[in-house]
């Protein structure tokens, strides 16, 4: 059943930022990630769902009931904030108990539910300690427990992992994913961090200027980006995007004056944008059938790999290779034909079957 439905929701601020005509559906038990650069309207979206803000237009439904114009939020939604927003003057116990106290529950019931929820969130600490006496990971778990304790239908998370260091973040990420797998809670998680989105999300919604640029599984958005924005935004180093002309015959492409033996999608002609990820190119001929002749310009040593800056025609091309090449050298690179992406040069939309989920390619 759809847990959260947003229909044509808009909330636009005077700065012009906000959320525009946004529609989405989150299924029960789904880990739904909203991914986008900062300032794109992700937090606005979350505040609208939470009831901290009211949409200018559109409808929001949670668990089948409209919550668009609720006077105050009910117990169906809980939120974990970016800075966690733990009450600094209360102990961990009091923090977790606060929502229950506001519900007017009795002391014994509160105690029992706090203990149970703390265990569920993986808290094995003395709950009498204040947030300032806890480690980053412990604070994270207290915030999670406080969000869980009222057993909401929907948990909203606003980049709660952004303030812990990289090492701890990857540990907490795995822990959070495990927690969600185990308890099947519905979670809407907002982030600008690709890694978090890929690791956590059952589905990812990529946002761009207040709108949704693409929704899909991590594999879908990475392997079949729906438009140039998603293609550029996901992946590091970013996807190479080359302007090219379809050959007059309709077979083969011209990148400036270099011909590629790669067939464009049927029926296309004129100018296209061709995309290929730096990791999808290799110097080994057995890697793929499409051959690219490039001029190596410079290379950077990255430890496990080399990042090669090269030129195809007069356009820049980044390649990630396990071995070194000589600057100035002419090199032959190989790629599988199905690893190339085509985009319309004017609209930026993907050309080819974007939404065909059945065709998800397995890498090998």
């Amino acid at each position: 059943m759809a847990e959260l439905v947003m229909r044509d929701v808009s909330r636009i601020f005077r700065s012009g930022r906000g959320v525009r005509n946004l529609s989405l559906t989150v299924e029960e038990g789904e880990f739904f990630v909203v991914l986008g650069p900062s300032g794109v309207g992700k937090s606005t979206l979350l505040r609208l769902i939470a009831g901290l803000d009211t949409p200018d237009n559109g409808e929001i439904e949670i668990g089948g009931r409209s919550v668009t114009h609720r006077a105050r939020p009910d117990h169906t939604v809980a939120m974990v904030f970016q800075n966690l927003a733990l009450y600094p003057h209360m102990s961990a116990y009091e923090n977790i108990a606060f929502p229950l106290k506001m519900m007017g529950l009795g002391r014994r019931e509160i105690e029992e539910r706090v203990r149970r929820t703390a265990a569920l969130a993986g808290l094995e600490i003395d709950l009498n300690r204040r947030p300032s006496q806890l480690s980053g990971g412990e604070r994270q778990r207290v915030a999670l427990a406080r969000a869980l304790v009222r057993e909401p239908r929907l948990i909203l998370m606003d980049e709660p992992l952004s303030q812990v260091d990289v090492q701890l973040r990857s540990v907490l990420r795995v822990e959070l994913k495990e927690f969600q797998r185990r308890t099947r809670r519905t979670i809407v998680y907002v982030t600008h961090d690709h890694d978090s989105a890929f690791v956590l999300g059952d589905r990812i919604s990529v946002m761009h200027e207040g709108r949704i640029a693409q929704i899909g599984s991590p594999e879908e958005v990475y392997r079949r980006p729906a438009n140039l924005f998603v293609a550029r935004f996901l992946g590091h180093p970013p996807m190479n995007l080359l302007r090219c002309q379809v050959a007059e015959s309709g077979r083969g492409l011209w990148v400036n004056d270099v011909r590629l033996e790669l067939d464009p999608p049927d029926g296309e002609s004129g100018e296209l944008v061709l995309g290929i990820r730096p990791q999808d190119l290799s110097v080994q001929p057995e890697f793929g059938a499409v051959k690219l002749e490039v001029k190596v310009e410079s290379l950077e040593y990255l430890g496990a790999r080399y990042l090669v800056r090269a030129r195809l025609g007069n356009q820049a091309l980044l390649v990630e290779l396990p071995r070194s090449l000589q600057p100035g050298q002419i090199a032959h690179l190989y790629a599988r034909a199905d690893r190339f992406h085509f985009f319309d040069a004017t609209s930026g939309e993907r050309i080819g079957q974007t939404h065909d989920k059945a065709s998800t390619v397995t890498k090998g």
Binding site: A50, L52, M79, F81, N83, A85, P88, H89, P99
Partner: protein, 272 residues
């Protein structure tokens, strides 16, 4: 290094000199005048160590009923003023915290109200107080309200700083947790504002306790302490005035000693 920071050294010495001239010397002289016979105080060249000590001034001052009366009145006025300023200051600071437009205009109004010449405001204020029957009352309520208005900007700005340290998300979180706005103010904000509230109260209290001009104008017969000292001094009894002034510094000294840790541990400079 010492070569590099010569100018800094000069500035640092100026700082020490300032502290000595504006605080240490007057306090020493005050104590000396309160306990020495008249001649000593005006001796030339100045004597730093008095030859003749006396408790006469202190005795004279404590034996009159006028002192007790105005001591109590000053304390009452300062307490009412401090409570009012702290309460109103909290409300203003809260409004300014959540609302950017309120903050802008609020800060402008608070600054502007501090720039108004006291004497220009005092005259019409006296008129208003006479009309509403709060001019020169034995309780000094009118003066207390005026003192509250004077102390309000500092109290509000101090509390604004304390509010600003509390992330707005805390209020959002409490709201989602089901707390009403009053609950948020009482159970989320106030516990974190304890120190700032104490500071606002203390500063408001002291500013009222020390205030001279409005006291002189608005309580000409039912005097508070500072005008009383002024009258003693003007009528020539500098010794008695000094003894009284010394008594009036008592709450300040208590506060300074009590707050010495907070005063010294203040790593960040204000952003004002």
């Amino acid at each position: 290094m010492s070569q590099r920071f010569k100018l800094l050294e000069i500035c640092r010495r100026a700082l020490s000199a300032f502290a000595v001239v504006t605080a240490v010397v007057p306090i020493y002289l005050l104590i000396k005048q309160a306990f020495s016979v008249e001649l000593d105080s005006f001796a030339w060249p100045p004597r730093w160590i008095p030859h003749h000590l006396t408790l006469e001034h202190l005795h004279k001052v404590t034996s009159t009923g006028e002192l007790r009366e105005s001591l109590i009145r000053s304390a009452e006025v300062a307490t009412v003023a401090a409570c009012t300023a702290t309460l109103l200051g909290t409300m203003l600071a809260y409004a300014m915290t959540r609302d950017l437009r309120a903050r802008r205009w609020g800060l402008a109004a608070l600054t502007a109200s501090r720039l108004l010449p006291m004497i220009a405001v005092a005259l019409p204020l006296a008129t208003v107080l006479i009309r509403v029957g709060l001019y020169d009352t034995p309780s000094g309520l009118g003066l207390a309200l005026v003192h509250a208005a004077i102390a309000l900007p500092v109290a509000a700005i101090l509390l604004l700083g304390a509010f600003a340290k509390i992330p707005l998300e805390l209020e959002d979180a409490a709201f989602l947790d089901g707390a009403s706005q009053l609950t948020i103010l009482l159970r989320i904000y106030l516990p974190q504002l304890k120190q700032a509230l104490a500071a606002a109260f203390v500063l408001s209290f002291l500013s009222s306790w020390d205030e001279f001009g409005f006291g002189l104008l608005l309580q000409p017969t039912n005097r508070t302490l500072p005008p009383l000292i002024y009258y003693y001094a003007v009528f020539g009894d500098v010794g008695a005035a000094s003894a009284l002034a010394l008594v009036s510094t008592a709450p300040v000294l208590i506060v300074l000693v009590a707050l010495r840790h907070i005063l010294i541990r203040q790593p960040k400079p204000p952003a004002f």
